[in-house]
């Protein structure tokens, strides 16, 4: 697991049923691309978050495959439909097998 990985998500506290809302997510992660070399000329191995998903009450909103061209501290902004009150679940999958999770409730 990369050090001190910290997710941040922005979800409105409430919405009306069927409303489309905008979600924003940010997570601290170096996203080491595998293209850089260290001071002795050795390639620094790739270590990135390779997938991000957002689900609401078990149904998928977005599923993103991420490549090394995503910037350090990955940011995503996207829209979701809120059919009822419930919980958003955000999941980031690291190359090293670590999984970072965050959830946010929303009322209708």
């Amino acid at each position: 697991m990369a050090d001190g990985v910290k997710p941040r998500v922005k979800v409105p506290k409430s919405a009306s049923a069927g409303e489309v809302i905008t979600l924003k997510t940010l997570i601290s992660h170096p996203m080491e691309s595998g293209q850089r070399k260290d001071s002795s000329g050795n390639v620094i191995p790739r270590s990135i978050i390779n997938r991000f998903t957002c689900d609401f009450n078990g149904q998928n909103v977005i599923d993103i495959t991420m490549q090394p061209a995503i910037s350090t501290n990955p940011y995503f902004e996207f829209d979701a439909t809120v059919p009822e009150a419930g919980e958003f679940k955000f999941t980031w999958y690291d190359d090293d097998g670590s999984v970072y999770e965050e959830s946010k409730k929303i009322s209708v």
């Binding site: 149904q59 998928n60 490549q67 910037s71 996207f78």
Partner: protein, 138 residues
Amino acid sequence: MDFTRRETLALGAGAALMTVLPFRVNAAADDAINEFTGGAAVADGGVDLDAPEIAENGNTVPIGVSAEGATAILLLAAGNPTPGVATYNFGPLAGSTAASTRIRLAGTQDVIAIAKLADGSFARASKTVKVTIGGCGG
């Protein structure tokens, strides 16, 4: 300022090299596109790609993309060492078929978005982003 014949030739060779290079890097991007589309034809238009004309730093370039009726969108940076950036797969609760992120660009190049539409067809958009290299490092 006058250039000698030799200098003009040197400049011409440089310019020729610059026009040849993109073909090489685009091959990798074409492979990525073919993998996504399965070789199907890709129509121009129908995809909205929001990218800055000039990025102050190639490390963090904001890119937004949307395509009406898309089930998935592939985002590529044709001039990067590996062209892949991200693939957005929209689920049943997606509120729109749009998403924004921040990406790395190794230099001035084309950013390409390919949308897979619900009817199985594909559409594309591309935009050139100039990446400036500042005078002040570190």
